[in-house]
C-alpha cells in the first residue's frame, strides 16, 4: 500500500528515537556522576581553600529541592502556606511567619507546638541544643534523629503543579472546544499545534503497544504524556512560573509510576497473572520464578519512577554545576565557557524533557499492554 513507506519511516524514527534516548541515558548517567564528582571536588576545594565560601553542593541541592516559598530574586519571594499535621492537630501558617531561619537554631512556637526549621523542613526540636547550636541531633551514622510532623504544605512544587494543571486544563479544554466548534474542518491555531502530538501519542505509543485496546487507555496516556512533558519544560524555565523541579522530584514520579502500576494491576487479565503465578517453566522452578516475577511486577514501576526522576534531576544538577563554576573559580571569565555549556545542556534538556515524557508514556503503555495482552507470546 501507499502508506507502507510512511509507516516504515515512522518505525525508523522510533528506532532513531530509541538510539538517541539510550545514548542520552548513558550521557545523563555520566553527567550525574560527573556532577557528583564535580560537587565533591567543589566541597574539597572549599574545605581546603575557601573556608567561608558557601557550600555549592548545598546550594545546588537547595535549588533542586522543594521549598516553602517561591523565591524570585534577592529578597523578593512569595511565602507559601505551611500545613502541618502535628501531634496537636492541624497547624497552618505562612512560611515567613517565623522569618527565614532554616538552620535549626531557633524554636518556633505554634500555640504550644514547638517546631524547628532545618533546611526548609519542619522537625520537632531536640530537648537540648547540640554543639553546633541547632536543635537537631544526629546519631553516629549521621542519621537525623528528630521526628517530623506530617507536612502537607502547599509547597513550591505543589504550586507549580497547580499552575501546570491549570495550563493543561485551559489549553486542552480549549482545544477540545475548538474541535467541537470546527467540527469537520481543518485544525487551526493551538489545535493544529497539538494535534500532531496527540496523534503521535496515539499512533506511535498507544497503538503499537496496546493494539486494538488502545482506545480505553488513550486518556491516561495523553494525560501522563502532556503532564510530564509540560512539567519537564516548566522545570527548565529558570523564572516564574517555571523553576520548580516537579518531575525531578521523586514523590511526583512515584505518584506517576504508581498510577501506571495501579492501571497495570487492575487491568491485568488471566494471561498476565497466569504468567506471573504459573510461568512456563518446569514446576520445580516455581519457587524461584514466582518471586522473580513478583519482583518484576514491582521493579517495572520503580524503574519508571527512578528514570524520570534521575534524568530530570541530573539535568538540573548539571546546569547548576556549570553555573556554579563561575562562583567556585571566582572569575567572571569562566562564564565565557560555562554559559555556552549551560546553553548546550539546556537545549539537550529540552530534548530530554520530551524524550523522558515519551519514554514514560511508552513504557506505561508497554506495561499496560503486557497486562491486557490476549495471548502470551510463548
Amino acid at each position: 500500500m501507499d502508506l507502507s513507506h510512511i509507516f516504515n519511516t515512522k518505525k525508523f524514527f522510533s528506532l532513531a528515537f530509541c538510539a538517541v534516548f539510550f545514548s542520552l541515558l548513558s550521557f545523563s548517567a555520566f553527567s550525574e556522576e560527573h556532577a557528583a564528582a564535580d560537587s565533591s571536588k567543589v566541597s574539597a576545594t572549599e574545605a581546603h581553600v575557601e573556608e567561608a565560601d558557601e557550600d555549592i553542593s548545598e546550594v545546588i541541592l537547595h535549588h533542586i529541592a522543594d521549598s516553602h516559598e517561591w523565591h524570585f530574586f534577592g529578597h523578593v519571594y512569595i511565602p507559601l502556606p505551611v500545613i502541618l499535621w502535628t501531634d496537636n492537630g492541624l497547624k497552618t501558617f505562612l512560611s515567613n511567619k517565623f522569618g527565614h531561619n532554616d538552620h535549626g537554631t531557633e524554636i518556633l512556637d505554634l500555640e504550644g507546638t514547638k517546631l524547628v526549621n532545618y533546611h526548609g523542613k519542619y522537625y520537632y526540636p531536640s530537648d537540648v541544643k547540640s554543639a553546633n547550636g541547632t536543635y537537631i541531633t544526629y546519631n553516629a551514622d549521621g542519621e537525623l534523629l528528630n521526628k517530623k510532623p506530617l507536612d502537607i504544605s502547599i509547597t513550591k512544587n505543589v504550586v507549580s503543579l497547580l499552575i501546570s494543571v491549570t495550563i493543561l486544563l485551559i489549553v486542552f479544554i480549549g482545544v477540545a472546544n475548538s474541535y467541537k466548534k470546527r467540527e469537520g474542518k481543518a485544525p487551526k491555531g493551538m489545535q493544529s499545534l497539538l494535534e500532531p502530538i496527540i496523534l503521535f501519542v496515539r499512533d506511535d505509543i498507544a497503538k503499537p503497544q496496546l493494539g486494538h485496546k488502545y482506545r480505553g487507555f488513550m486518556p491516561y496516556l495523553l494525560t501522563i504524556f502532556f503532564f510530564v512533558w509540560l512539567n519537564n519544560l516548566l522545570g527548565l524555565v529558570p523564572f516564574f512560573p517555571g523553576g520548580a523541579n516537579v518531575t525531578g522530584n521523586i514523590a511526583v514520579t512515584m505518584m506517576l509510576a504508581l498510577c501506571t502500576f495501579v492501571l497495570t494491576t487492575v487491568n491485568g487479565n488471566k494471561n498476565y497473572w497466569g504468567h506471573v503465578f504459573t510461568p512456563h517453566v518446569p514446576w520445580w522452578l516455581y519457587p524461584l520464578m514466582i518471586p522473580v516475577e513478583i519482583v518484576g511486577l514491582i521493579v517495572k514501576p520503580v524503574a519508571l519512577m527512578i528514570r524520570l526522576f534521575a534524568n530530570i534531576t541530573a539535568g538540573h544538577i548539571l546546569i547548576l554545576s556549570l553555573i556554579s563554576l563561575i562562583f567556585i573559580l571566582k572569575s567572571v571569565f569562566v562564564a565565557g565557557v560555562a554559559i555556552p555549556f549551560v546553553l548546550f545542556i539546556s537545549v539537550i534538556e529540552l530534548l530530554v524533557g520530551f524524550i523522558q515524557a515519551f519514554i514514560f508514556t511508552i513504557l506505561s503503555a508497554l506495561f499496560i499492554g503486557m497486562a491486557v495482552e490476549e495471548h502470551a507470546e510463548h
Partner: protein, 170 residues
Amino acid sequence: MILLALNPLVTPDPGLFIWSTVTFLILFFLLSKFAWKPIVKALDERERFIEDSLAKAEMAKAEMAKLISENEDLLKEARLKRDEILKEAKEIKDQIVNDAKEQAKTEGSKLIEKAKIEITNQKLAAMAEIKNQVSSLSIEIAEKVLRKQFEDQGKQEALVNDLLKEVKLN
C-alpha cells in the same frame, strides 16, 4: 557526605505525594471528560471521514473508468454499426445501380430490337410501295412512250415488222 546530602532528594515527601496524587487525578478526570474524549472522538471521526472520502473517490474513479470504457465500447459499437450500415447502403446502391443498368440494358436492347423490326417492316413496306410506284410509274411511262411511239403509223408498222422478224427467227 554528598550521598547524605542527596538523601532528601530520593526520599519521597508525603505531602507532595498526596498533593500531586490529588492534582493529577483531578487533572486526569477533567481532561478525560472534557478534553480527550471530544478530541479523540473528533480525530476518529475525521479519520473515518477522510477514509470514507478516499474510498468514495476511489469508487467514483472506478465508476468513471467504467463509464469511460462503456462509452468507448458504445462508440466502438456505434462505429462498427455505422460502418456496417454504410457498407450495406453501398451494397444496396450498387445493386440498385446494377439493376438499373441491367434493366436499362435489356430495355434498350428490347427497344432496339423493336426499332429494328419496325425499321425492317417499314423498309419492306417502303420497298413494296416503291415497287408499286415503280411498276405503276413504269406502266405509265411505258403507256406514255407507247402512246408517243404509236402516234406515228409508220413507226407502228416498223415495230410490228421488227417483232415479226424476231418471231420468224425463232
